[in-house]
């Protein structure tokens, strides 16, 4: 079953052990957005995100799934509070992992200030969860990708599992085109957009730690395997030296590719065989990464 096409709830159902999902703040509580209501805009009973506890391969996890089709998965006050609350809860429940199924353009413009605050709260809560030794995984494979504040949240996670269809960046393609012009970035050239923000480039650059096919079982397997790894080797604390090394690596990357216009240039520079990269299956692509 396609992860890209599935709704947030279908993704959860397909990812976790059958029948184990227990939702917090379920739709019947009608925790809807007061801001959208004031603007007389359509509401959703879950404000576009489902959060709860479940089991993955028998182990306790907490999980949040954003619904990309409701207002672009955007983070409003309630939406953000649900994710932040889930992360806070992780400190008390100490699950084996927290899974964030991110499918979002970032802050909800209708409630920009509240949304911005919510995202910063999510970031802080996420860091606390990691500091407590609990790994957080981002899964990115929906139609909205992970942009804006949720792009940053994604990169804070210990692991980022992506499909090629998933996208990860800060400013969305339309935003870049609007601000810098179509010569800078043609947001309607979808192939270019995906070569620049899609899962394959993110995996090649190390922003994503796993590239999987667009299927819910593929995401599930990757998450289960990573969770098992963290259960065996508990989360190492990053030392200052590690952080400086990361910084150094990013600075090098920035230098090397500051003039690159297209993902293809990155593949040309990083893969021994960079032909037909968009056509490769994730398995073939991962193989080429190993060969570099």
């Amino acid at each position: 079953m396609s992860y890209f096409e599935a709704s947030a709830r279908t993704r959860i159902r397909g990812l976790v052990d059958a029948g184990t999902f227990e939702e917090f703040c379920p739709p019947e509580m009608r925790q809807t957005s007061p801001h959208l209501a004031r603007l007389n805009a359509p509401l959703s009973f879950d404000d576009g995100v489902a959060v709860g506890r479940a089991r993955l391969s028998g182990h306790a996890i907490l999980i949040a799934a954003q619904e990309g089709r409701f207002n672009g998965g955007s983070v409003g006050e309630v939406h953000g509070a649900k994710i932040r609350g889930l992360l806070d809860r992780a400190l008390a429940e100490r699950p084996s992992a927290v899974l964030l199924l991110i499918d979002s353009g970032g802050v909800r413009l209708h409630e920009a200030n509240a949304g911005l605050i919510a995202i910063s709260e999510i970031m802080r809560a996420l860091l606390s969860v990691q500091a407590a030794g609990i790994p957080v995984f981002a899964l990115v494979g929906g139609s909205c990708g992970a942009f804006g504040g949720m792009g940053i949240v994604t990169r804070l996670c210990n692991e980022v599992i992506m499909s090629e269809q998933g996208r990860l960046s800060l400013s969305g393609p339309e935003v870049i085109e609007t601000v810098k012009g179509v010569e800078e970035f043609d947001s309607r050239d979808r192939a270019l957009v995906w070569r620049v923000t899609g899962g394959k480039l993110r995996r090649a650059q190390g922003d994503a730690t796993r590239l999987v096919e667009d299927s819910i079982p593929a995401f599930r397997n990757a998450a289960a395997e990573l969770m098992e790894r963290y259960r065996v080797h508990s989360l190492p604390e990053k030392s200052l030296t590690d952080l400086l090394a990361d910084q150094e690596r990013l600075a090098c990357r920035n230098m090397q590719f500051s003039n690159a216009r297209d993902g293809q240039e990155v593949w040309d520079a990083t893969l021994s065989d960079s032909t037909h990269v968009p056509e490769l299956s994730s398995e073939e692509f991962n193989q080429r990464l190993l060969e570099r």
């Binding site: 269809q165 050239d189 979808r190 192939a191 957009v193 995906w194 899609g198 394959k200 968009p278």
Partner: protein
């Protein structure tokens, strides 16, 4: 002595005026405007090639730069007015009259010009009808055409997107006219000759390749469950019922859904080899799964489709492919094929009235017809039988003591379009448009008396079985759902029509609505189509998300 070669001598005079800028038919790109100024005479009938696919866009830009005091009083006779330059030419006052088939993206600008009496419309035609008139009373004096390549003699390769070119060139070149071709490239040796050099007077290398609109690509990701449901109804309630083997599909997501249900739903019903084997159809990417699963035996194309070139080349058993290995399309022949050799046409529309007349015209747009009316009309000149055709004739009780057949002409529509616009209406907008644009006929795409079936999410109405105008009207209202038109039905009469099998709901056909999911589609996105084609389909960038 009476002179019999006015046209030929006039052509010679035109060629002489251009002699200085042409060498062995080749004209330099920068002299294109000058060439047009030299050969076009005031009052000329001019055809700027273009249809809903390829466009002689460079020559269109050039003619819109000619001197309006000399290139004037033109009569445009061409398939479409789709480029801004076509309308610019009119706004510059260089055109007096237009005869065309389709105006697509320029529909609103055109409506305004007509309203302000800046232009007279001769008539809006179907493609085939306009081509026919090229050989009777609308023969172009000058044709500006588009080809893929020319060799140094001026032979042309038009390749997969041959489309209208042969019809235009044949009419122009053999009636003393001037043919000017823009080409994407000039090569020493063409893959094959589609248009011989002695039918071509000038060729020019265009600065950019001619534009082709990928008009027939439908992303399976955008097909809805309702469209899947209607596709199931069409396959089970119509294709299987009549044994439709030869057909044409219109453009749209409704018919794309049918194409994608063939290898899954239709195959499960045991219909492989029994339906949908022979087509008059552009190479729709959504037909790939049906071709790969062996459902389809033959497809003749009006034009090509961007990205399908390698695929069609690699499937010469299915498509019409030259010795060089590339496909050749031909709009005129495929229109004739769709009209005479197909048992069924199915397409979508914007409005249907109580008589079953359907129209895509709306008040502020003059869009025109393209080819649909030729497909969506009974071919009364047809004299060969087929089971589907004969059954339709029997159901309609045609013929006075003689067996007669009838083409199945089907509209497949949702009862509401987007923004809750009802598809079924008491009064077509086409009437108002005819009034404001001073047209003699309301622009109706499919006439009610040609329409045999309507499919909506509410089921099928079989109009062949209706015996009175009242029954017909109630049958249409009976599938019009919750539109005001549908809600004003006579519920008792509709139930009676349902009992007689004139209206058949999904459940009457044994179709469960909950089974209508996107999981039934043989491909759910463009990438699936690429995979199923074995990597031969190369979709345009705007359709990719990889």
């Amino acid at each position: 002595m009476k002179q019999h070669d006015h046209l030929a001598s006039n052509r010679l005079a035109r060629l002489k005026r251009a002699a200085g800028i042409s060498s062995n038919r080749l004209v330099a790109t920068e002299h294109a405007v000058q060439l047009l100024g030299a050969v076009i005479e005031p009052g000329d009938r001019v055809c700027i090639e273009g249809n809903n696919q390829k466009q002689a866009d460079f020559l269109a830009r050039c003619i819109a730069k000619t001197d309006p005091s000399r290139v004037t009083g033109l009569h445009l006779v061409q398939s479409v007015l789709a480029l801004p330059e076509h309308i610019d030419l009119i706004e510059r006052g260089q055109v007096e009259r237009i005869d065309f088939s389709f105006s697509g993206p320029q529909a609103s600008r055109l409506a305004l010009l007509v309203e302000n009496k800046k232009i007279a419309i001769g008539a809006i035609h179907t493609y085939l009808e306009l081509f026919a008139r090229y050989f009777v009373d609308l023969t172009p004096r000058v044709a500006l055409i588009a080809a893929q390549a020319a060799d140094r003699e001026g032979n042309l390769y038009t390749g997969p997107n041959t489309e209208d070119t042969p019809a235009i060139v044949e009419a122009t070149a053999f009636k003393g006219g001037i043919v000017i071709a823009q080409v994407n490239e000039i090569v020493d040796r063409l893959p094959r000759v589609d248009i011989p050099a002695d039918w071509v007077n000038f060729y020019i290398k265009a600065p950019t390749p001619h534009y082709i609109e990928p008009l027939f690509t439908r992303d399976p990701a955008l097909i809805t469950e309702i469209q899947v449901l209607m596709g199931m109804i069409a396959i089970k309630g119509l294709y299987a019922e009549y044994g439709i083997t030869r057909l044409n599909h219109g453009i749209g997501f409704d018919t794309a859904a049918i194409e994608l249900l063939l290898p899954t739903y239709a195959a499960d019903l045991g219909l492989k080899g029994k339906i949908c084997t022979h087509w008059a159809l552009n190479p729709h990417p959504t037909l790939i799964p049906a071709i790969e699963s062996g459902f389809v035996k033959s497809v003749h194309c009006f034009g090509s489709e961007v990205g399908m070139e390698r695929y069609t080349s690699a499937r010469p058993d299915i498509f019409f492919v030259g010795a060089d290995g590339s496909m050749r399309s031909n709009r005129a022949f495929s229109q004739a094929a769709g009209h005479y050799a197909c048992d069924l046409f199915i397409g979508s529309t914007l409005q249907i009235d109580s008589h079953g007349n359907s129209s895509t015209a709306t008040l502020d747009r003059i869009a025109g017809f393209g080819g649909a009316p030729n497909m969506g009309a009974d071919a009364r000149g047809r004299r060969h039988a087929s089971p589907a055709w004969l059954r339709a004739g029997r159901e309609a009780q045609l013929g006075a003591g003689i067996p007669r057949g009838k083409k199945l002409v089907v509209q497949i529509v949702e009862t509401f379009r987007e923004h809750m616009q009802p598809t079924f209406v008491e009064h077509l907008d086409a009437w108002e448009l005819a009034k404001t644009a001073d047209m003699e006929l309301p622009p109706v795409m499919i006439y009610g008396d040609d329409l045999t079936h309507i499919i909506t999410e509410e089921g099928i109405a079989n109009l062949l079985l209706c015996r009175t105008q009242e029954e017909r009207e109630q049958a249409i209202r009976g599938v019009a759902g919750y539109t005001p038109f549908g809600m004003s039905r006579d519920a008792r009469m509709v139930e009676n029509l349902r009992d007689r099998g004139i209206i058949r709901r999904a459940e009457d056909l044994g179709i469960r609505k909950r089974d209508a999911t996107r999981d039934l589609l043989a491909a759910r996105n463009i990438k699936d189509l690429v995979r199923i084609s074995g990597g031969l389909y190369d979709p345009p960038a705007q359709f990719r998300n990889w």
